[in-house]
Subunit: 145 residues, 2 copies
DNA sequence: CCTGAAAACCGGTAAGC
DNA sequence: GCTTACCGGTTTTCAGG
């Protein structure tokens, strides 16, 4: 992971379909050198995936909510992760400091879809109650930099 | 935007570097047909970008927090958006239902960086107080579907 | 709007520095 | 570890249905 790798990552972030030669022209490397570095970055897990960013409205996933999870007793992060990964509406989630045990960011097609997803989140072991904040208007949405 | 387009988007989501021929083989179209559809999807803004998903630890952005904003009086979403867009640590944010006025998702290099970002968020007009939940362990992290 | 073919172009490998 | 060179495959364009 040197500076060259970081430049390559930056280029791929801007355009994941950029040719190796094009990237090389920017960072000052030959196409094959770039390829080997990209392969290594994928191999080592630095680059997790080549994807596209799609207009969320296309999916019809427009209703969002931030949900706090309050659990009884101890929470096993691994178990929580396993459960949450079965709910596709979960955009991101993490255990947190404060009175809540975890925060879950949901995105669903509509309000019933959100309610349904929340229902599935609630079956997590030891969930005492939840506290939801439905998003009225999205203010910021950046790439997961 | 028909079903074919949706299938193509699904394939590109799985691998943004997939060949047009390969995609065509899956969805039942020739390479050139796939290319024209992809071009059109980019043209019309359905596909916003071809990107890579990078291990966040690489950026050194490992400290995250969900922050609730409580404001005095009315909140102007546009003004809030303008302010939050000046804070690069803001990953996503939205005005919400419930006792809080907005939820802001922050990601910073370290705790001091998080504190600094929070400081900059707090200068938003009419902010009365904030309530932060620092992420202890990230459970889920999906593409911005 | 699709297919199929032809030309240009790029990715992947191998040899050499 | 990088570069140049080469071959095979893919992209891209275009004529035709």
């Amino acid at each position: 992971m040197d500076n060259l790798d970081r430049q390559i990552i930056e280029q791929l972030r801007l355009n994941a379909r950029a040719g190796y030669g094009d990237i090389g022209a920017v960072v000052g490397l030959s196409a094959s050198a770039v390829k080997r570095r990209v392969d290594r970055l994928v191999e080592t897990g630095v680059i997790r995936a080549f994807t596209i960013e799609v207009d969320p409205a296309v999916d019809g996933l427009v209703v969002e909510a931030y949900v706090e999870l309050f659990c009884r007793g101890t929470v096993a992060p691994d178990e929580l992760r396993r459960l949450l990964s079965t709910v596709p509406e979960v955009v991101d989630a993490g255990t947190v400091t404060g009175s809540a045990d975890a925060v879950v960011h949901l995105r669903a097609r509509d309000i019933p879809g959100l309610e349904d997803a929340l229902e599935r989140v609630r079956v997590a072991p030891n969930v005492d109650h939840t506290r939801s904040a439905i998003v009225l208007s999205r203010l910021i949405k950046r790439d997961p930099r």
